[in-house]
Symmetry: C2
Subunit: 180 residues, 2 copies
């Protein structure tokens, strides 16, 4: 009855894998279905909650815990909270999942390193290979794929619309979208 329950939609994947593109495609669709949506974008959160933190493992973990803390506050109040941070470490993703009081949907945005590095939309991989960016995930820092994500989207071969549809279908199957 009444209001929909919130949930956390947690995208994880390499830089350039398409997390933000998929988020920007999905967020208005979800709002169009009547959901409240907040996007906790990696860069925006670093600016507002984690300025001064580095990209060391310890600081990345702190940043991810903060995103998880805020996502949980939102989700337990009926909001669909979307995280689109790289979140490369399995242990802290699991910790955020355990602490979530709302459904936690982990979506592995799976594009091969060769593909995202080949595109290199922002030129970051080139700079990382040149040693200009330390702690760059996939180049000089690890990425640990999720062991049991709710969903995997293959953005190297799917269109953004195909990936978005998979997410929407999954959410519908979990009863997290309004009927009809």
């Amino acid at each position: 009855m009444g209001e929909r329950s919130g949930f956390i939609l947690w995208f994880t994947g390499l830089s350039g894998s398409g997390k933000s593109t998929l988020t920007n495609h999905l967020a208005p669709r979800l709002r169009g279905l009547g959901l409240k949506v907040e996007v906790l974008d990696g860069d925006e959160v670093r600016e507002n909650l984690s300025r001064g933190l580095s990209f060391s493992k310890e600081d990345r973990d702190i940043n991810i815990r903060r995103i998880g803390f805020v996502a949980n506050l939102l989700a337990r109040n009926g909001v669909c909270a979307i995280s689109a941070a790289i979140s490369p470490y399995e242990a802290v993703r699991q910790e955020v999942r355990r602490r979530s009081e709302a459904p936690f949907i982990e979506v592995y945005v799976n594009a091969p390193l060769a593909v995202v590095e080949g595109r290199d939309v922002k030129g970051l991989y080139k700079r990382a290979r040149a040693g200009e960016i330390p702690h760059f995930t996939g180049v000089s820092d690890p990425y640990e794929p999720p062991k049991a994500p709710e969903l995997v989207v293959y953005t190297g071969q799917e269109t953004v619309e195909e990936s978005a549809r998979k997410v929407l279908d999954y959410l519908r199957s979990r009863g997290l979208l309004p009927a009809g």
Copy 2:
């Protein structure tokens, strides 16, 4: 129609002035009226969003900005977000107010220093006077009273019930509580 709009209820006052007591009294009453309520307690926020920050002016301001950022995310999604941090500096309180996309209700929890120091419920003032706690608001750090708060409660002379009633009456006058 439908859902109520959220707002930020921002308590500010000295340590021991009664911010938390008033919050703990109000939060269940507001929930009982059908509102969604989240309390952003100073200590809890420091633990989850601001660990490692000091009590220097600069770090206090960062902490308050983070509380404001999260409170705004909640309030724009229909939640009554309550901040119960000391928040001693006027400029950053004004900044948080400006950034709020929802009604911002600043409540000055006004108890004289002599009164709160006389009670010294947690023994902190004694330790601060002994020089054991640096940057202690009211003792070795400034407290800047709000210049134009929406409401002032005088917790040195009012009961918590009287102060709570003033807050509820004010919220009702602003149309922020359900009718009836």
